[in-house]
């Protein structure tokens, strides 16, 4: 669908590359353009479309879950199906929607923001994208395999996960493919940033989105192999008689949880740091003021990344760790509040004495800051081990991580799309429609997730298909919020589709009244096929 526009983009030869473009061709025609894609924009587009499809797929599962939980009693899904829906919803949203969306944004924006023509490793880029459709085909096929899809939760805890039927190795191999894809994407990001920055762009002059992605990429390389190792151990426990996680053979089921969360906690930051980057781009633009405390933002991001490696067992307070272990993980988790607080304060200070306007990307960024902070507060509460013994595995946790992932990560992605879409396709979108999408999303995301705090505090465990009638009221409210939030996202799909096809021409700066700073705004809209054929000079 974007084919014509990118072809268009190629026709706009970038002014300072006139004499150098003799040897360059446009994209290949037809399916080859996508199958053989090596261009960062084509690959970025594929990542983003893929992510959107997965967002809708995972969202559909969420709708089924909320429909089942609308009223007490079992109406739609028998308990085994319900469990596989929660498991698949999480796997698809984490690995299919959020992570590929950020990789797509990285593909589009990092070369444009560091003044490079393309990503450093274009063929690996192609491979890392094309693994994903196969990975998710494999994962989604588990829905029709005898014995049903994985239903032990996305955390895959043994021994329960070892009761999965024939779909088990499919899910494991799907995770292997996703992990390989993520690692390659991360390597590409690091190599591009380290080698292809425009002359004069020292590390501490890089845009925040580039910084947060650089740090995210290191996190990915550090932890995706850990996940791959953990699921491989599950596989050998299941089929080859090893007993890594079986006490009867000298193993320990809790060891899996340690390994999983050693991946899982940095993974949380993999899903949020690039969103921090987006928000750190959007807020200064629409406050018409440079980011407050740039250096502090970079160091805070790095501190969060470091801390993310030493807090994993706060997911496991109820497993019965030694007291000293509980103390350590409680304290280290509390420390994360400090750099995260610095970020929120810096965003606030950026707006202070600014000149603020409320375009759709800014609205999403503001909503992000408010609602992510609420997720941060509940995170701080969960860090308190004696209180966590009450919160753990209840809807309070569900509310917490959805607050940081939906109005957190997902709103960050939406802010990015609304910020850069005109630069990508050369068309301005319908502002009224975009603001409608924003307001409906923000209202309903709260109707959906805020009551889940109450449910958790009242004692409703997570991952149950049916509940006592005392939980009926807030579940009803939450489900209604869920249906409305889900329906609202169709607006988003329509808006992207219609903007890519047509719309008023976007200017090169797109947000003229805000005069955005950054190399991407020095390029025409839509951006040329090879972003910077000649490196710009950074003063």
């Amino acid at each position: 669908m974007t084919a014509t526009h990118i072809a268009d983009a190629n026709a706009h030869v970038h002014s300072n590359s006139h004499e150098h473009d003799a040897g360059h061709h446009g994209p290949m025609k037809g399916w080859r353009r996508w199958a053989y894609a090596t261009n960062h924009k084509d690959i970025g587009t594929m990542y983003l479309i893929f992510s959107l499809v997965m967002f809708l797929t995972g969202g559909l599962m969420a709708m089924l879950i909320r429909a089942e939980l609308l009223r007490p009693g079992i109406q739609l899904l028998d308990p085994a199906k319900f469990n596989s829906m929660t498991t698949m919803h999480a796997l698809i949203m984490v690995f299919g929607a959020v992570m590929p969306a950020f990789t797509g944004l990285a593909n589009w924006m990092i070369p444009m923001q560091v003044g490079a023509p393309d990503m450093a490793l274009p063929r690996m880029n192609n491979f890392s994208f094309w693994l994903l459709p196969f990975a998710f085909t494999l994962l989604l096929l588990t829905l029709v395999v005898p014995g049903g899809s994985p239903a032990g939760g996305w955390t895959l805890y043994p021994p329960l996960v070892l009761q999965t039927g024939d779909s088990f190795p499919m899910a494991v191999f799907a995770i292997h493919l996703m992990g390989a894809s993520s690692i390659m994407g991360a390597i590409n990001v690091i190599v591009t940033i380290m080698n292809m920055r425009a002359p004069g762009m020292s590390l501490l002059k890089m845009p925040l989105f580039v910084w947060t992605w650089l740090i995210t990429a290191y996190l990915l390389i550090a932890v995706m192999p850990v996940l791959a190792g953990a699921v491989t151990m599950l596989l050998t426990d299941h089929y080859f008689g090893t007993t890594f996680f079986n006490a009867a053979g000298g193993g320990d089921p809790v060891m899996f949880q340690h390994i999983f969360w050693f991946f899982g906690h940095p993974e949380v930051y993999i899903m949020i740091l690039p969103a921090f980057g987006v928000v750190s781009e959007v807020i200064p633009t629409f406050s018409r003021k440079p980011l407050f405390g740039y250096d502090a933002m970079v160091y805070a991001t790095a501190s969060i990344a470091f801390l993310s490696f030493i807090v994993w067992a706060h997911h496991m307070f109820t497993t019965g760790m030694p007291l000293i272990g509980e103390m350590f993980f409680m304290m280290s988790t509390m420390l994360i509040a400090i750099p995260t607080g610095v970020k929120v304060f810096n965003w606030t200070a950026t707006m202070w004495k600014g000149s603020i306007s409320f375009e759709p990307p800014m609205l999403f960024a503001l909503s992000f800051v408010f609602l992510f902070t609420i997720g941060g507060f509940s995170g701080l509460m969960l860090a308190m081990a004696p209180a966590d013994f009450q919160y753990h595995d209840t809807y309070f946790v569900v509310a917490h991580f959805h607050y940081v992932l939906v109005p957190g990560a997902i709103f960050g992605i939406m802010a990015a799309v609304y910020y850069w879409l005109p630069k990508w396709c050369g068309h301005m979108y319908n502002m009224t429609l975009a603001k409608t999408h924003f307001w409906l999303s923000t209202i309903f995301v709260n109707v959906l997730f805020f009551p889940q705090h109450f449910l958790g505090l009242a004692g409703m465990p997570r991952r149950i298909p049916d509940y006592n009638t005392q939980f009926a009221d807030w579940n009803f409210v939450s489900s209604i919020g869920g249906f409305c939030f889900g329906a609202t996202q169709l607006l988003f799909v329509y808006l992207i589709w219609s903007t890519v096809r047509s719309g008023p021409k976007a200017t090169d700066k797109v947000w003229d009244s805000a005069a955005p700073i950054g190399l991407e705004w020095t390029l025409p809209s839509p951006a040329p096929y090879h972003s910077f054929e000649e490196a710009p000079e950074i003063k």
Binding site: R71, G73, P79, A80, N83, A151, G152, Y157, P159, L160, L162, Q163, D237, G241, T243, N246, A247, A248, G249, P253, V254, S287, R288, F292, G293, A296, G320, L323, M330, M334, A337, V344, M351, W352, K353, G354, S355, I356, S357, V369, T373, L380, M381, M384, P386, F389, Q390, H392, T394, F454, A458, G459, P461, D466, Y467, N468, Q470, A472, D473, W474
Partner: protein, 283 residues
């Protein structure tokens, strides 16, 4: 909508019948043990600290959004890039707040883990999908499963209105019975997959892990019936293995214990079939 109203009416009647189950419940309850009250106190303390921080931070943001609007002709002060003083302040203040939070949390944690001086010990074993309670030294051992009426109503297409079932999904055939004011130590393990034993009013949650023994303790301050559920996903019927604890006076507990001893044949079943069906890893 009228269905919803009917639901509300039902809830109202349940509310009258059983004051412990309030609809539209917003907050955690203090519970009936030292640990649950401690968790509640910590929860409220952190909640109010978060509310206070939220008022300040959100207040500053909302003030900026109103005061410094482009549409009202605000001119950005682009020299405001960084201020070491401010940055040191807003790094230090959170550290101080965290210390104030960490101290009661650490004290609480030490109390949570203090298993010493228990008056009695009960071993809990989680199975798919029931609990087994073994009163060590008392020769009392029984299984506790979901009550029949709940079990019938929870089947898809059963046609039974959950509102018509008392304590829907939170009732068992044989509740755990403990004496009031006694320190009860629970040893937790599982026969197949990981479960977690949790009664909110008792203030403690612990995983029951196959092959390992975990422990928790509580001392109930009030008599009554307290309900909870398995809190670790354990397969298909994870939502259907509730926990009911009846706290009795010392005399009533002794009477109950005697009654358990009376027909000894009934209270000693072997491991259930569910246990052998699970965990095929080594086979």
């Amino acid at each position: 909508m009228s269905k919803n109203l009917k639901a509300l009416a039902c809830i109202a009647s349940i509310l009258l019948a059983s004051p412990a189950f309030a609809a539209w419940q917003l907050n955690m309850r203090p519970g009936i043990t030292e640990l649950s009250k401690q968790a509640y106190g910590l929860h409220m303390e952190i909640l109010w600290i978060c509310v206070a921080i939220g008022v300040v931070v959100f207040g500053a943001m909302i003030y900026s959004l109103i005061k410094f609007r482009h549409s009202k002709g605000a001119i950005a002060d682009t020299t405001l890039l960084h201020s070491t003083k401010v940055e040191v302040i807003w790094t230090t203040i959170p550290i101080i707040i965290l210390v104030f939070m960490a101290y009661p949390a650490a004290r609480g944690l030490i109390k949570d883990e203090d298993m010493s001086g228990a008056d009695m010990t009960i071993k809990v074993t989680g199975y798919q999908w029931k609990w087994e309670y073994d009163y060590l030294d008392q020769k009392v051992d029984f299984f506790s499963t979901l009550a029949r009426d709940s079990n019938a109503a929870r089947i898809k297409g059963s046609g039974i209105d959950p509102y018509s079932v008392p304590n829907y999904l939170l009732e068992v055939d044989h509740p755990l019975v403990v004496p009031v004011h006694k320190k009860v130590r629970m040893l937790l393990t599982a026969g197949d997959v990981i479960h977690a034993w949790w009664v909110p009013a008792l203030g403690m949650k612990r995983d029951a892990i196959p092959g390992f023994i975990n422990e928790l303790w509580f001392r109930a301050d009030e008599e009554g019936t307290y309900r909870g559920q398995c809190a670790e996903l354990c397969g298909r019927d994870h939502g259907f293995m509730p926990i009911v604890v009846v706290v009795k006076s010392e005399a009533d507990y002794a009477a109950w214990l005697n009654a358990q001893h009376a027909p000894p044949a009934e209270a000693a079943p072997n491991a259930p079939a569910a246990a052998s069906a699970a965990a095929p890893a080594t086979t």
